[in-house]
């Protein structure tokens, strides 16, 4: 198993050297988005509004954090089931998204879209929040706070462990 330490934004050659099953320790700024946030992001894209962050330079993490306890950097962090976002992924890829973090298999269709866009799908382990929390440098609500766990959070990662699930050629 090869281990890659990568910092966002990823360059095309960073992605090209990845193989399925490799381990990645990912650092940099990412944004969370689950079902509701995807719908809202896509609405913005369809309206032609610029998103408040550059998809090309970041990663989208399918994650709904739990609230922070007092004095903590973040609450419990972890991936949610990616397949719920299968039908919502293409518009983000078309806007330049290169890195997705989630849990579990993708549909054949979605897998093809990820490959075609030269993107990488990383799977994180579900149910290891305390381990992942140690890799979170900061975590703030960024958009749509009223959505609670479904809001968009901005996080800074320091070597978040994940594995390469799908990678574009």
């Amino acid at each position: 198993m090869q281990v890659h330490e990568l910092r966002l934004p990823l360059r095309a050659e960073d992605i090209r050297k990845l193989k399925e099953g490799d381990k990645v320790l990912l650092s940099g700024i990412i944004y969370t988005a689950r079902d509701q946030a995807h719908k809202k992001l896509i609405e913005l894209i369809e309206k032609g509004v610029d998103l408040p962050f550059k998809l090309r330079e970041t990663a989208i993490f399918y994650c709904g954090p739990s609230p922070k306890a007092e004095g903590k950097v973040c609450g419990a962090i972890g991936p949610t089931t990616s397949s719920r976002m299968d039908g919502l992924t293409l518009p983000l890829l078309q806007q330049g998204l290169k890195v997705i973090i989630g849990k579990g298999e993708r549909s054949a269709e979605c897998e093809r879209q990820i490959r075609e866009h030269g993107a990488v799908y990383l799977t994180a382990i579900g149910g290891i929040s305390a381990v992942l929390a140690r890799t979170i440098v900061s975590c703030e609500t960024y958009l749509w706070e009223e959505l609670g766990a479904e809001a968009v959070y901005r996080m800074e990662l320091d070597r978040l462990p994940c594995y390469v699930g799908i990678v574009g050629d």
Binding site: A76, G127, A149
Partner: protein, 281 residues
């Protein structure tokens, strides 16, 4: 008659919910530790290592085991000579779920309306409560915080009683294997057989609360549990679906009488974050 105060039950419940949110079933952890030591599958060792580390860090760092801190499920055995003063068990459970949500804190993961207004209740209430009346004066509560991933991969089948046993096993195993990593294996598999449509689902849930890896008292069902467990683990899906030999930690069956025309079977999956405890008041 014995009288129990609603506040006392709520206090014990809140404490139990908080405790299990940070601690997996120790027997489940033990199984994963043994597999971690014995596995020669590199990815599986890596994944199991992270899960084991998580079980240690959760308590130290005061971070819940999983970001899906779950829905509170309670199966209550209530003595017929027991009176609860001040509130119904449902009200008490709802208050405890909300109290634990704020106190731990846990993620608010309950939507008021399942279909049209998927608005978060904001405090993890309501809880799901099942009550069974038993002899005596005691109140036993089996409590779980049940995550969405594993629950979503659970299923129910109304089979024909003529279905050959081999076919039944195959169908159960196939569905579990197909769920891949979505239920966060290694899994605990609860199987309810018999009863009727709704009872077999409840039996499957209750089977998850059995002592992990206990042997079924009926030899036929004990053999069935073992066979299904070994079939699941031969599939090679492994921890988190990343490959290896530990897809399930245990299979527990509970069975009950049923209609001569029916064979209801429900399978309730539980993820490696096996958060449950029994308390007695």
């Amino acid at each position: 008659m014995r009288y129990l105060k609603a506040e006392d039950i709520q206090k014990a419940l809140t404490q139990a919910i908080c405790q299990i949110s940070y601690e997996s079933d120790p027997k489940a952890v033990e199984r994963m530790r043994t597999a971690h030591e014995q596995s020669n599958h590199e990815l599986e060792r890596d994944v199991l290592g992270a899960i084991l580390e998580n079980n240690e860090l959760a308590a130290i760092d005061n971070i819940p085991l999983c970001q899906d801190t779950g829905c509170t499920v309670i199966i209550a055995e209530m003595g017929r000579e027991l009176v609860i003063e001040g509130a119904t068990l449902q009200e008490i459970a709802d208050r405890a779920a909300a109290e634990a949500q704020g106190k731990c804190p846990l993620r608010a993961s309950i939507s008021y309306d399942p279909l049209f207004r998927r608005k978060n209740s904001g405090n993890n209430s309501p809880a799901i409560v099942h009550i069974r009346q038993v002899e005596g004066k005691r109140l036993k509560l089996k409590i779980a915080q049940k995550g969405g991933g594993a629950e979503n991969m659970s299923f129910l089948m109304m089979l024909s009683p003529a279905t050959p046993l081999e076919k039944i096993k195959e169908q159960i195993v196939q569905r579990i294997v197909e769920s891949g990593s979505r239920a966060c294996p290694p899994l605990v598999v609860g199987i309810g057989i018999g009863g009727n449509f709704e009872r077999c689902a409840l039996l499957a849930k209750e089977a998850l609360f059995e002592e992990l890896g206990r042997k079924h008292p009926d030899e036929h069902y004990a053999a069935l549990e073992q066979e299904i467990l070994s079939m699941i683990n031969k599939c090679g899906k492994g921890a988190q679906g990343m490959g290896g030999g530990l897809t399930a930690l245990a299979v527990h069956v509970l069975h009950e009488a049923c209609h001569i025309a029916s064979l209801p079977i429900a399978v309730n999956l539980q993820c490696h974050a096996h958060r449950h405890v029994d308390i007695e008041l």
